[in-house]
Symmetry: C2
Subunit: 209 residues, 2 copies
Amino acid sequence: MKLSNVIISRLSIYVRLLSELEERRKETVSSAELAELTGFGDAQIRKDLNLLGQLGISGTGYDVKHLQKVLSRVLGLDRQWKVALVGVGNLGSALLAYPGFKQQGFNIIAVFDNDLRKIGKNWEGIVVQDVGELVNAVRSAKIRIGIIAVPASEAQRVAASLLKAGVECILNFAPLRIKLPKEINLRNVDLTMELENFSCFLTNKSRRE
Amino acid sequence: MKLSNVIISRLSIYVRLLSELEERRKETVSSAELAELTGFGDAQIRKDLNLLGQLGISGTGYDVKHLQKVLSRVLGLDRQWKVALVGVGNLGSALLAYPGFKQQGFNIIAVFDNDLRKIGKNWEGIVVQDVGELVNAVRSAKIRIGIIAVPASEAQRVAASLLKAGVECILNFAPLRIKLPKEINLRNVDLTMELENFSCFLTNKSRRE
DNA sequence: GTATGTGAAGTAATTCACAGCT
DNA sequence: AGCTGTGAATTACTTCACATAC
């Protein structure tokens, strides 16, 4: 079963919505209701869910509890994941303190920086290690997910270390395109790019008016 | 000229790459070189750039300086944008301290929170205002871009206030799908979703092996 | 010769619309 | 009656391939 990124993104949204519905003791939910809640089309929701098996009941909808269980399993949320974070600047610290990660089973268990003032310090309960120790530390802890929250100038080097350490997935916050072999699952969160989308939108909007 | 989001994202990448090339005193660049640097196809790059006019010179490539100027204008990077930030928790503080925004002309000039301990305090040079003042403050400052960095439970309400205040673009960091009229340019940065993509990837990968 | 601009072909994602199940 | 599952149609995005321009 090969799920594309856009589908996985929607599954993430469904699973969150479902836990909400479950809390509200809702037993079943129809694709039309999910469409209303998410803003996606109802057919799309049925298509997405149908990829995971025949989960729906005609005339009734989907069983909230069951669907949530299936989605959680498919997304790998029924287990714990170890994560390495590189860079404890403003953004890195914020990520480390973000409670949402642990809630979903993502545990940042190793943190690295190259700033001597930070190395050895306790940061949200984790001791910051020298980035020079990254390869060994990440490899021996068998960490498969890495987060890059360092300045752009260092990001490519950090990525190379993570690769060497055997990491399979990298979330990059540095505003540049890292080059990595394509078997690595690389995702970029580029905040400036998001704002540039807005400025482009507003610029062209005004031009039209 | 209607540019889709994927295209705007690529234009953002090009413009950054070009400023790098300009610093290195590179005069011209070909679509093949840009393809090598970005990982996109060369035809795609030519298609993207061609949307902005006939900017290339056959047999030579694109003039770095000129192309950069055109891209900056299209993306609206040749002017200043006022931004409102709602929520000064871990993430909000990190965004406020992030130097990349100001560099690109995005100035966070108003900050809001509902925490009495934060209201009135100076945060990176800006006084935090009560979220109750948001509508008036944002409207009178004519701010068109808003960033939501509050917990999920409050995000929809904050979005409604921003809408009321006349904001046209909203960047949402809360892990839920906000409902807004479609003329608002809403973009979501969902960190948990990114990690869920990884856990899904790793789960299915292991299953295959 | 080298690199652009661009129709045509190919691929992916979404929406439509309805047969068939409960 | 109500809602799913799904081929068919549509739309969006990407890649190919080559005539054209420098």
